[in-house]
Symmetry: C2
Subunit: 388 residues, 2 copies
């Protein structure tokens, strides 16, 4: 295990009726607040009204930027940054899921940059400052509420790229599980797949790890597997929504990573799928992950899948390691495609092999995709084909 | 599960050779730094020299306060605060275990108070400001490196009382597992007992909890049980020392607590023991915990001990719940007294029943000690007697 720096300063108000703290927290950061959100579902649920009432009560000067799309686009980042510059915004308040929060972080960074925000995404220019971000989470999935990441898409170039900077970590996040009662079955299922994938990308690792973190990851994976079906069956089950919500933050806030430096595997592949086809991120991950595990499983890595199978799915420890590994992949598939009722193939969602070669090339560049097991361009194409 | 506020802003440098960051981190907080430590073991190990070299390199103005005792006394707090006031100290750098860090936090708070620091401990005056604290941890046990607590003793009144304030949370902590290679068997064992106890005080709870946190606690308890014996047998085993060190921070930094509001049981009892007899905190907890569990076990709480036994000690799930619960208590006893080789009774460490009634009265006040199961004064006396 190597050294690492743990630095997650986000303050979280978890639970019902915490918005009474919103005005004071925003006021600590400034006077002029830009409220960002998506297509307006927060108006239907009443959350928008509550937020505005709290901000007005604290005498804040309120601006709005709405219409942030799923797989948020760089055009939205530029438009939001423009408002920040023009109005001298002090604080950003993102009200939404991962797309809204990601876009808002990028807006905060782009507000300090003279030029196209895409330059920041492709690392042509560094991110070293960001307008402070506060978030009110409405969907348990990406973990953006407590991490340093923002994934931004550019439909013109078919690119979807992650941007990361400690200055973009939200200062304060409000996590009220009851806000997610209105999230539909499909989005709940995709969110659960996203949370699981964040953990698996770190868990499946050949580096020498902190045992403590492996056991913690297994506990959080068990949590998602237990509660996602409950949330589908009973959308207003507080216990289920609360566990999924807190799991979403901890899956990717950096704690579980410890000193691991290995790259991720399924996320880079999925980013290409949604860059080309604008599919839901969690769905792409659900389709890819079991095929990826199936493809890479070998004698070198079987012990990790044995742990996964016996600890997370409670498969009989006395079975041979390879049998446990294969059964764990089947159980994961069943979880995604039977329990969560997600579509199980790329074909079903209208994706064929047209762009597989190009996507694999973008993923691997001139080399291989490093990760749990290094993947060549051909490997990536093969995995995509297994998903058809 | 109720609402809670998660707020743990400590930045942690984990691993070997991280002290190169020390000067920059201290400089961010000020120019005049008071280095606090205990009896001088850091001089023998060479850590003192490394720390001073880093501080000098950054051109900081260095002051020192040494001799902080185990179960730190209010007299030390007052003496340290005096230096802070006289020299206008900007930053405190605690180099040591929990006692040094606790005392340093209290010094930081007392520096803003005109009067006896004991007033802050007994809540006669509020703590609302604290000189920023940075810590370099040398012993995995109390978790003080990442939490808001400081436990201070007053030998005159036989009191040992916890003080807690968010302003006292360390800003930055350095956790280098190799620094703990020189910690002896006894202190390593007591530290492991302390870590386990912090988790058990929260885990054994009748409130409706976040399942995710219960599974995480079980994972961290398994970690301590796996690695403490390895650290005893091989003091320079990095993996063991690293897992114990990170477990110590997470056992009590607030994450595992979630929305639980129930009081603790063994810590209040142990604080009386060390207030009267100045024993090592972790040892007192090890002696008390199995007896406490044995005393309170009943049909209402057996399911929690069943989880503990089957998940942490991997006892056969098919056994009756009560049998699992009893076996889990035996296994915990064996872990403390056989595996860790800690003394198993109060008698062995020179404590008899002389002060049991008085201590029970201090613990329960006019009512009961609330917790996993409420305890009357008589219950507390009975538990103490079981430890003879």
């Amino acid at each position: 295990m190597k050294h690492f720096i743990y630095d997650i300063p986000t303050k979280v108000y978890f639970g019902e009726n915490q918005l009474g703290h919103l005005g004071a927290e925003i006021s600590r950061l400034g006077k002029k607040v830009l409220v960002t959100y998506g297509g307006g579902s927060i108006k239907k649920t009443g959350l928008y009204g509550q937020v505005m009432a709290e901000l007005q009560k604290s005498g804040l000067e309120i601006f709005e930027f709405s219409g942030i799309e799923p797989n948020p686009k760089v055009t939205s980042v530029n438009a939001g940054a423009e408002i920040c510059k023009k109005e001298n915004i002090d604080v950003l308040l993102a009200v939404g899921g991962g797309s809204v929060i990601d876009c808002t972080k990028a807006i905060g960074a782009a507000a300090y940059y003279e030029g196209d925000a895409w330059d920041l995404v492709i690392k042509k220019a560094p991110v070293d400052k960001c307008i402070p971000v506060v978030s009110i989470l409405t969907l348990s999935a990406t973990g953006s509420e407590m991490d340093a990441n923002a994934v931004i898409s550019n439909p013109e170039t078919h690119d979807k790229i992650g941007l990361k900077s400690p200055v973009m970590v939200p200062k304060v996040s409000f996590l009220d599980p009851t806000v997610t009662y209105t999230v539909n079955k499909y989005q709940t299922a995709c969110g659960a797949a996203d949370i699981l994938s964040h953990i698996m990308e770190v868990y499946f690792n050949m580096e020498q790890d902190l045992y403590m973190l492996d056991r913690t990851m297994e506990g959080i994976m068990k949590t998602v597997i237990k509660y996602a079906p409950i949330a589908l069956a009973e959308p207003e089950n507080y216990e289920a929504r609360a566990n999924l919500m807190w799991a979403s933050s901890w899956a990717i806030n950096g704690f579980l990573k410890g000193g691991r430096t290995l790259g991720w595997s399924c996320h880079p592949m999925e980013h290409q799928l949604s860059a080309y086809y604008d599919i839901t991120h969690g769905l792409g991950l659900a389709i890819l992950t079991p095929r990826w595990l199936d493809y890479i499983l070998d004698e070198n890595n079987v012990s990790k899948l044995y742990d996964f199978g016996t600890h997370v799915f409670e498969i009989d420890k006395n079975l041979p390691a390879m049998a446990v590994a294969k059964q764990s992949i089947e159980m994961l598939s069943d979880f995604f495609f039977k329990t969560l009722e997600l579509q199980s193939t790329l074909t079903e969602i209208g994706i064929d092999e047209t762009h597989f070669e190009m996507m694999a090339k973008k993923i691997c560049g001139d080399g291989t995709l490093t990760g749990f097991k290094p993947l060549t361009q051909q490997d990536v194409v093969n995995i995509f084909k297994m998903c058809l």
